[in-house]
């Protein structure tokens, strides 16, 4: 589904990604973790070409994202993405947030789009908030709406970029619950997150990044049982010990 091959990226002379290679198969859940500044958010943004990269290739569903001939809006419409800061559109009601891209990108009728949006809103437990504006919801609620908004496009896979990092602790679980449910339904997911509980519960593989490189790419059991690299061991020890 997602194949990342030898991807390198520079900001000027500073290398942020070094020869990253991995893949996410259909219905697989891959968690990407690592210390801040390790390039994990940059890597996931390369997958739907929100960030350009200078070397290597990323193929999503058979389409090379770095190919200048690729119709990026069309490709991105099929790849759902959830951001750290939710990024709902503040001037639109929740209903419109859910419907707008369906209408303007997929060409669905308004009634169909709203209908679909409300069904997904119900699924994330927020049906009663449909008429509100994003600024009137809590962070956890906004993030659940953001997930519903991405799902409304019928994505073939979902990218999560630190979806719980901006949330107050008591709101993290409501978002993780939605993600766990998605994983159980067989959604292909690539998640940048520090939530190791989530990784343990649903991940198939865990990728550990440090200084722009993929240091460890292992099945979940191996990663948590016996990480091979010292850096991954230190990282795990730090985040699991409290």
């Amino acid at each position: 589904m997602i194949e990342i091959k030898n991807v390198s990226k520079w900001y000027g002379s500073f290398q942020v990604l070094t020869d990253c290679t991995t893949q996410v198969s259909k219905s697989e859940v891959v968690v990407v973790c690592g210390p801040s500044g390790s390039g994990k958010s940059t890597l996931i943004k390369c997958v739907n070409a929100l960030e350009p990269f200078q070397q290597g290739s990323i193929v999503v569903n058979g389409i090379a994202v770095e190919d200048p001939k690729t119709d990026l809006p069309k490709l991105r419409a099929k790849v759902g993405m959830v951001f750290q800061n939710f990024e709902l559109f503040p001037h639109m009601t929740i209903t419109d947030n859910l419907a707008i891209a369906q209408i303007k990108v997929l060409g669905r009728g308004r009634e169909e789009a709203v209908d679909k949006g409300l069904k997904l809103l119900d699924r994330v437990g927020l049906k009663s908030q449909a008429a509100k504006f994003p600024g009137q919801l809590s962070g956890g609620q906004q993030q659940r709406v953001a997930i519903a908004r991405a799902l409304a496009m019928d994505p073939i896979c979902m990218l999560f970029d630190e979806p719980t990092s901006a949330l107050d602790p008591e709101m993290i679980n409501e978002v993780l619950d939605v993600m766990v449910q998605l994983a159980h339904e067989g959604m292909t997911m690539m998640c940048v997150t520090h939530e190791m509980g989530f990784a343990r519960k649903v991940a198939n593989r865990v990728i550990f990044m440090d200084r722009g490189a993929i240091v460890e790419d292992a099945a979940k059991e191996d990663f948590f049982g016996q990480p091979r690299s010292e850096r991954a061991q230190t990282f795990l020890a730090k985040i699991l010990n409290h």
């Binding site: 943004k45 739907n48 929100l50 990026l72 809006p73 069309k74 991105r76 419409a77 099929k78 790849v79 759902g80 993405m81 951001f83 750290q84 800061n85 939710f86 990024e87 709902l88 559109f89 503040p90 001037h91 707008i100 891209a101 303007k104 990108v105 997929l106 509100k132 504006f133 994003p134 600024g135 009137q136 919801l137 962070g139 906004q142 908004r149 991405a150 496009m153 990092s165 901006a166 949330l167």
Partner: protein
């Protein structure tokens, strides 16, 4: 003070058979017309330029920046004189003659005032767009929007809300700046003001009336835009706050 007050002079007949208050009303009409038309030109062009200056296209940004630098750094009255007296000499001869003979003065004045104000509006629209988090654009793109659609549906609606107070000042300024167009022969309020002073020497009365007229024009514009501001306020959002609650 031995000034001779005479408020009734407004109802005296002038050389052209009209009353002085007719002159004022006519000036008020021209001021309103020239200002609103210039504002329309400025809003459309200024928005386009403001958007251009936030795009990833380097040529577009350069072009927009150059426009703003040029039109913001030259006094309005000099710009008007350039449109009236210099530009007709620089364009091909037949166009120059058409500009001098057939093109109504007010069109040139509206273009001049509009292009000048557009540079200022471009600056504000750019600031508004740049005040939004980069994540808003990314969120739009990630949903499959084109770059243009992220402006149309995501960025501009918020940017305009954020800069509406600044645009309000600009809309009020344009009424005041329109007084400069008297210098290129527009028979607007300031022109009539000067003409009435020359004819009657009732300086205080006419100054009071014209001052009030400008004040009311600007004030009405202010109230209209305050109403727009209230109507477009986003529930749950403090103006100027970026989307989301996160870091």
């Amino acid at each position: 003070m031995n000034y001779h007050w005479d408020w009734m002079f407004f109802f005296q007949e002038t050389d052209d058979g009209l009353k002085y208050y007719d002159w004022i009303l006519s000036g008020l009409g021209w001021t309103t017309f020239v200002s609103l038309a210039s504002l329309a030109v400025a809003l459309i062009l200024g928005s386009a330029l403001g958007v251009m200056r936030t795009t990833p296209g380097r040529w577009l940004v350069g072009l927009g920046d150059a426009y703003v630098d040029l039109f913001r750094n030259i006094p309005l009255i000099v710009q008007l004189f350039m449109w009236f007296f210099v530009v007709p000499e620089l364009v091909p001869e037949n166009i120059g003659i058409w500009m001098k003979q057939d093109l109504p003065y007010f069109v040139t004045a509206i273009v001049g005032l509009g292009l000048y104000t557009a540079a200022r509006i471009a600056e504000q629209v750019k600031a508004g767009i740049n005040s939004l988090s980069r994540g808003q654009r990314n969120a739009g793109l990630a949903l499959g929007f084109t770059e243009w659609q992220t402006y149309r549906y995501v960025r501009l609606p918020m940017a305009y809300r954020i800069v509406l107070p600044a645009l309000t000042s600009e809309a009020m300024n344009i009424f005041k700046n329109s007084a400069v167009t008297y210098a290129v022969g527009i028979l607007e309020l300031y022109f009539q003001y000067k003409q009435i002073i020359e004819k009657t020497s009732q300086v205080l009365e006419i100054t009071i009336v014209v001052t009030l007229a400008y004040f009311i024009l600007a004030f009405v514009m202010n109230r209209i835009l305050a109403f727009v501001e209230a109507r477009t306020r986003v529930p749950g959002l403090i103006v100027g706050q970026k989307g989301g609650k996160g870091s």
